[in-house]
């Protein structure tokens, strides 16, 4: 009897009651998002390759062999001993690419962490306290944006000497601007919400409000910026190394590999094509994941 009075299944109210739970909805959204799946998948594969590089690489990435210089890759008539050929010093190209994933991902993760901590602290402070704190932070953001990143990074790395650590720290100290901008705006939005007022009313301390009321509600934006800045740092490291003022040889960095292959580009263009293509795929994957995360966590802003 009750059955006959039930509304049709496409009623939005019923959907609300017996429809998919928020968790189920999130899962449908995640798996319905091709960019996110592709990006996260590729990133995961490269992460595994980077972590297990010593076991996956067929050769020592530093071992030179003058007898085997400039062997072509398999698809250009090479043999399977060096699937992607060898460079001008006879080093196995595939092994160098695999170790290069370590360099790129390490730079991306650590530089984004450093700049994330700096930028988030500044942005949240500016958004929460407003007034003078905000004015100072906004001014610092303007100053930072006015400094040409590539030029300043090049000059500082040249001065301190190019090494992986120096490049990571310099990029980490330079790339906090977007964190500060986004975290400031997000905090400004969240701090007016009722739950923040309520927390203040029951006498919660400022650090507590920031940590347990503000941070969880701006975390989704933070994650998106983390991915964007990871990609940014990875690209910048490649640029610095390409210009000869980043990671120094013989470290296998993809930007450096492009730079080394450049001199032989006339006859062996694959020396430049392969490392650049891998770099492109990694950055593309991270960006797609970032875009996907933004769509999935904040579907109402998607328009």
């Amino acid at each position: 009897m009750v059955m006959t009075t039930l509304p049709p299944t496409d009623d939005p109210l019923l959907e609300e009651i017996v429809g998919p739970t928020p968790g189920q909805r999130l899962r449908t959204r995640v798996f319905g998002h091709m960019g996110l799946i592709f990006g996260a998948g590729v990133l995961l594969i490269l992460l595994v390759i980077a972590v297990f590089a010593p076991w996956l690489a067929p050769h020592d990435p530093y071992a030179q062999s003058l007898m085997d210089r400039m062997q072509p890759p398999v698809f250009l008539g090479g043999d399977w001993d060096h699937p992607l050929g060898t460079d001008h010093l006879g080093r196995d190209y595939l092994s160098r690419l695999i170790y290069g994933a370590r360099v790129s991902l390490m730079i991306g993760v650590i530089a984004a962490t450093i700049s994330g901590i700096i930028g988030t602290a500044m942005g949240v402070a500016a958004g929460y306290f407003e007034g003078r704190v905000d004015a100072v932070v906004t001014f610092l953001i303007n100053v930072r944006l006015a400094m040409p990143v590539v030029l300043v990074a090049l000059a500082v790395v040249a001065v301190l000497g190019g090494s992986l650590q120096v490049v990571i720290v310099v990029l980490g100290l330079l790339l906090w601007d977007r964190f500060a901008v986004v975290m400031r705006a997000s905090t400004l939005q969240v701090r007016r919400r009722d739950y923040v007022t309520a927390a203040r009313a029951i006498g919660a301390s400022t650090p507590r409000i920031i940590w347990s009321e503000i941070m969880p509600n701006i975390a989704n934006n933070l994650i998106v910026v983390v991915t964007l800045e990871m990609a940014h740092a990875i690209l910048l490291e490649a640029v610095l190394s390409f210009l000869g003022l980043g990671v120094q040889p013989p470290t296998p960095s993809w930007g450096l590999m492009v730079s080394e292959g450049k001199n032989m580009m006339l006859f062996e263009p694959w020396l430049v094509m392969i490392p650049g293509a891998v770099l492109f795929v990694l950055v593309l994957a991270i960006n797609l994941m970032g875009d996907g995360l933004r769509d999935v966590t904040a579907p109402e802003d998607r328009s």
Binding site: N142, P148, V150, V159, A231, L243, L266, G276, L284
Partner: protein
Amino acid sequence: MLQFILKRLGLALLVALTVSFISFILLFLSGDPASALAGESATDQDVAAIRELYGFDRPMLVQYASWLFDALRGDFGESYYFRLPVASLLAERLQVTMLLGLCGISFALLTAVPLGVVAAIRPNSMIDRFALFLSVAGQALPSFWFGLILIVAFSIKLQWLPASGTATWKHFIMPTIVLGYYAMPAIMRLTRGGMLEVLSSDYIRTARAKGASEGRVMFKHALRNAIIPVVSLAAVQMGFMLGGSIVVESIFALHGAGYLAWESIARNDLPTVQALILVFSMFYIVFTFLADVLNAWLDPRMRAG
């Protein structure tokens, strides 16, 4: 309006001053310029003499102040490497970079704006998807690699375009594309978003109801309003582009300011590097200032901020 401009101008000057101070400190900390100048074979006396001659023995703030006052008068000192006044070196090299920057931003606007408009007129069509794909891929494409691919394709394989130099307009085609594509995704997205918003507004409906032709609605009514934020974005992108010219100029061996920056950093030519950092950031500051003023002029609501 005047008050807004003065406020922004004051802020821009303060930013410029801070940037100049930071860049001075960065390079001041870089070790002993006197021993770098004197060379490997110099004795301690030589180094001490040079230190005194150039005034490196004075306190840092004094050196900064004297550098700043000279810079304000257009005197950036003498290049350690070229043994020429940095100012005249810059004046010569900036011409190439300015030309390249103008070409780059024109290329970006002329491709990204039409693409954004078409994508907004037919949302979710093939063209829209293609534009979205281009913007996602464009952001991930390493510019130095893109430049080398173009050289392999058009200079080595097809032999259509020269790979390096500045002799003819043909030399500028590939550098323009490599410099310009980076600004395309942002401009395209902003045009598309702006057009979508404007097209759903009441005055477009009114214009259509009056019987205005579709072309007139699109260009006279819609694009005119949607383009406002794009113009100021383009100004900001132009400031960024001049910084990006380092990579492009080094790939295509264009002897502009970016190439000079790269050379000078590699040669430890401090006065030149200092002047270049200052000039590049001044460009950025001027362009963002112009964008702010333009925005405020076109949209009175912005003046409050």
